[in-house]
């Protein structure tokens, strides 16, 4: 489908840079417009990554919450049901969730992950019983940091 998002962004950026910016005289307005141009340039560079990065995050979150739902440790007992609910019914065969659906579901899942972290820190779970959860949490953190780096600093090569 056209125009592609990057076509729209590039058009807006060029008009602002070539026509609007040279016509401005107010120092604050110039500073703000330069900031807007940086935002547009950044967005052009990363927009194609938005969906795959969000989908990868969803995958990590589902994996972690699935492990919580399966865990037998008492420290996580109060969260088992919530974790299960946060990953239930989000895979409809043959359909791809929209970006908004992915985002909204990830926001809910991350809230549950926060509760999981607090539960693990504030109790003394059996290391063996939560090993899968801890391993998946460590992986989630590591990969999330890498995704955030790719999203905010796209010109850098990822690890």
């Amino acid at each position: 489908m056209t125009p592609e998002p990057t076509d729209l962004l590039r058009g807006a950026r060029r008009t602002l840079a070539d026509v609007v910016l040279p016509a401005l005289g107010d120092g604050f307005a110039i500073e703000q417009l330069k900031t807007v141009l940086r935002v547009l340039t950044h967005l052009e560079a990363v927009i194609d990554e938005a969906y795959p990065l969000e989908a990868a995050e969803a995958e990590d979150l589902r994996g972690l919450l699935g492990a919580v739902a399966r865990s037998s440790d008492p420290a996580l007992s109060a969260l088992r049901e919530t974790a299960g609910e946060a990953i239930a019914g989000d895979s409809v065969p043959g359909s791809l969730p929209s970006f908004r659906e992915l985002r909204d579901a990830n926001v809910v899942r991350k809230r549950v992950v926060s509760d999981v972290i607090r539960a693990l820190r504030r109790s003394a779970p059996s290391a063996a019983a939560v090993e899968d959860v801890e391993t998946r949490l460590a992986g989630l953190v590591r990969r999330q940091l890498d995704r955030e780096r790719r999203w905010t600093r796209p010109r850098r090569t990822s690890k």
Binding site: D26, G27, F28, I30, E31, Q32, K34, T35, V36, R38, V39, H42, N106, V107, K110, R111, V113, S114, I117, R118, R121, R122, L137, A138, L140, V141, R142, Q144, L145, E148, R149, W151, T152, R153
Partner: protein, 374 residues
């Protein structure tokens, strides 16, 4: 050592409470033409006699308040006006009091008038004298004001003044100053650390649009490791390169951005000064804290000038806390206020949000949860 309960200073709490109320009302970016007559009436009442405002224009720079340059008679002044919401929600009365407290001790703008209630211009406001100088070299200037590479010829002089000003600030006998808006944490308790953590945890709770595992792990770690402060000093709260003005001769003309000042542990400012994210590489490739001095030299100079010993464990706590605080502002508040259309700097806020990743990654490294095995 007594363990302190989470507590947020009275005036900080009031400020955050007021913000939650404003969050549900419409915000309009201030208009210079509309401000003029109210500003003239206010300053006339403050200074006595009729005041004519000239050359009132919005000031560039800054990521927090709505700032305006103007002239009143032969005085060049700056108006700092609260926006709907700010990347840091702070109290103009506190800013006024701390600027008065450091007058003649630390180079800083002289305050002229304050309206902490917002009865004059519709929002809380502060007027101060405008100080000449720049925050960074014009060539290679950075929009963020973070990670500044100063002119090599001026670096040594700037480093000495920057360090001396911090020492003078921390040695102020704040008990003899008028600081009625400030609550006093007890020395030899964890008050200072607990209060400042409670402040920024509240902001995180109220501003975040989504959770982040590193922020939860960091908050848990900070609560488990609150240190006691052996002395209570006046803390600047944002003491770094980008927050001072200097002239062509390399003289620091003013330390800026006092809005986060509070009474607390001197290690909090020290942890800010040596934050690696404010550092740049020197000519020999060495990391220069705030673009001025190697970290160890910066800390050694401070110890020598004060005669105090820096506690490495407390410094580590505050380095981690400071990145937590930076991440709260960058990850939570920026997007909250931009999405809520409560800031005059919406584009800047979304751009600053990108810095959140750096602060969160630094937190993860410090807590050894980034997978690097450090």
């Amino acid at each position: 050592m007594s363990v302190s309960e989470p507590y947020i200073e009275r005036t900080v709490r009031q400020c955050l409470d007021a913000r939650l109320v404003r969050r549900h009302t419409a915000y309009h970016v201030a208009d210079a033409a509309e401000l003029r007559s109210a500003l003239e009436a206010w300053l006339g009442a403050e200074l006595g006699g009729r005041v004519e405002i000239r050359d009132l224009v919005r000031a560039p720079g800054g990521a927090s308040k709505e700032n305006f340059f103007f002239r009143a008679g032969d005085r060049a002044l700056l108006l700092r006006l609260d926006p709907g919401e700010s990347i840091v929600e702070t109290d103009r009365q506190r800013e006024f009091e701390v600027l008065r407290a450091v007058e003649g001790i630390v180079p800083a703008p002289r305050v002229v008038a304050v309206d902490g209630e917002g009865s004059r211009l519709g929002r809380p406001a502060l007027v101060m004298e405008r100080v000449d100088g720049r925050t960074q070299p014009e060539l290679g200037a950075r929009t963020s004001g973070v990670g500044i590479a100063f002119e090599p010829a001026l670096r040594e002089s700037l480093a000495r003044q920057f360090g001396n000003a911090l020492v003078r600030l921390h040695r102020i006998d704040w008990r003899t100053r008028q600081l009625p808006s400030f609550d006093v944490p007890r020395a030899n308790t964890t008050d200072a650390a607990a209060w400042t953590l409670a402040w920024w945890e509240r902001v995180w709770e109220e501003d975040r649009l989504e959770d982040h595992p590193v922020m939860v792990i960091a908050a848990e770690w900070l609560r488990e490791h609150l240190p006691a402060a052996d002395r209570i000093v006046l803390v600047h709260g944002d003491y770094r390169s980008g927050n001072f003005l200097y002239d062509d001769e390399g003289r620091i003309t003013a330390m800026l951005d006092w809005e986060l000042a509070h009474l607390g542990d001197p290690h909090e400012d020290l942890g800010w000064v040596v934050n690696d994210l404010f550092a740049v590489r020197g000519d020999a490739g060495e990391r220069l804290a705030c673009g001025l001095l190697p970290r160890e030299a910066m800390l050694a100079d401070y110890e020598q000038a004060t005669g105090w010993t820096i506690d490495p464990e407390r410094l580590r706590f505050y380095e981690i806390f400071n990145n937590y605080k930076l991440a709260v502002c960058a990850h939570a508040t920026t997007l909250r206020i931009a999405r809520g259309e409560h800031t005059h700097l919406a584009a800047s806020m979304s751009l600053i949000h990108a810095f959140a990743h750096l602060y969160i990654a630094a937190l993860a490294r410090a807590l050894a949860i980034d997978g690097s095995g450090a």
